[in-house]
Chain length 136, copies 3
């Protein structure tokens, strides 16, 4: 059994933004030498998240962020947390702190249109992403 963990930083440039990190995760998988197993992509922040969605039309990302903003606006009557980012914490839990992708023949098993995104909900910041590959 082989287990490899690496991390990389992600610089965000807007309050809400989705950044395609697929090639950076693929690089960790390739360098691990693991042929079959799984890779976990983990976000160690509570106002950000990781998700999988379309890699082709950037309008999909636009529409996803638009919908999240419509459902979970930055300000809501009754919010108590005084940093003005309660919305970002909610989005983080709904989108999720990690994704898991299968690895076969040394590569990630992603659908034709799938990319892995780091989701920033309270930027701009320098963020961290931790990647762990397990298999053989």
């Amino acid at each position: 059994m082989a287990i490899v963990q690496q991390s990389f930083s992600v610089k965000t440039s807007r309050r809400c933004e989705m950044i395609d990190i697929t090639s950076r995760v693929e690089k960790v998988v390739a360098e691990s030498g693991i042929r079959t197993g799984t890779v976990t992509v983990f976000c160690p922040h509570t106002t950000a998240a990781i998700t999988i969605n379309e890699n082709a039309d950037p309008d999909v990302v636009h529409d996803l962020l638009l919908t999240l903003e419509a459902l979970i606006p930055q300000h809501r009557a009754g919010y108590r947390h005084n940093e003005g980012n309660s919305d970002a914490h909610v989005k983080s839990s709904l989108v999720g702190a990690s994704v898991q992708v299968l690895v076969e023949s040394g590569r990630m098993v992603l659908g034709t249109w799938q990319a892995i995104y780091f989701c920033e909900f309270d930027g701009t910041r320098t963020r961290n992403t931790i990647v762990k590959v397990m298999g053989e």
Copy 2:
């Protein structure tokens, strides 16, 4: 350590639909011969998802799809993606592309009322589900 990956197709018959795939995943786990470990159920599509929810009363699935439709209707002012399925992409990221279930004594460790569902949000289509069991 043993690692087994299999996939199967799922035919959907409505635009939005949840299909119980528990027995098909259980079959992969049984055939793997793995006694203890985890199984990852992965959806390689960006307008569909995988979730765990109640297996008994089909009204739960009805109410879940009704709520998703109310929160994320097919059309929204400001949508740019021109395929008319931006809602499906949003639902995909909120529900999630995969679930992970524990395996013990050669079987999935699911609660009494838990089933694994393939969630179609932009049908009808023929979809794919990829299952990976890791353990020993």
Copy 3:
């Protein structure tokens, strides 16, 4: 390869509540003796969930539950499930039945502000949480 599974119960005292279970999961990881790998925290209930969010200001949890209640109220026109907890089933699928956390040097790799929460959406009840550590 080492694989360890343990479970513990969680008593909830309100209909909707988030309970920090980080130290209980950390205890399972420590007792497993596993130095590097992953830990999966799984909720075997369909009206509850597991998530990761802020460990410092309890107002974040308040605001998260407030937002979920605003988006997914207990009663909605069209609900068919006759147990009055359709909202809890929806929240369960949106927040998710499990989280996966990386393990390195025998400890969970969590960000400074991250805690693992058991999310009760249909209490009060006595619930179960299953933890599986895999690695070496």
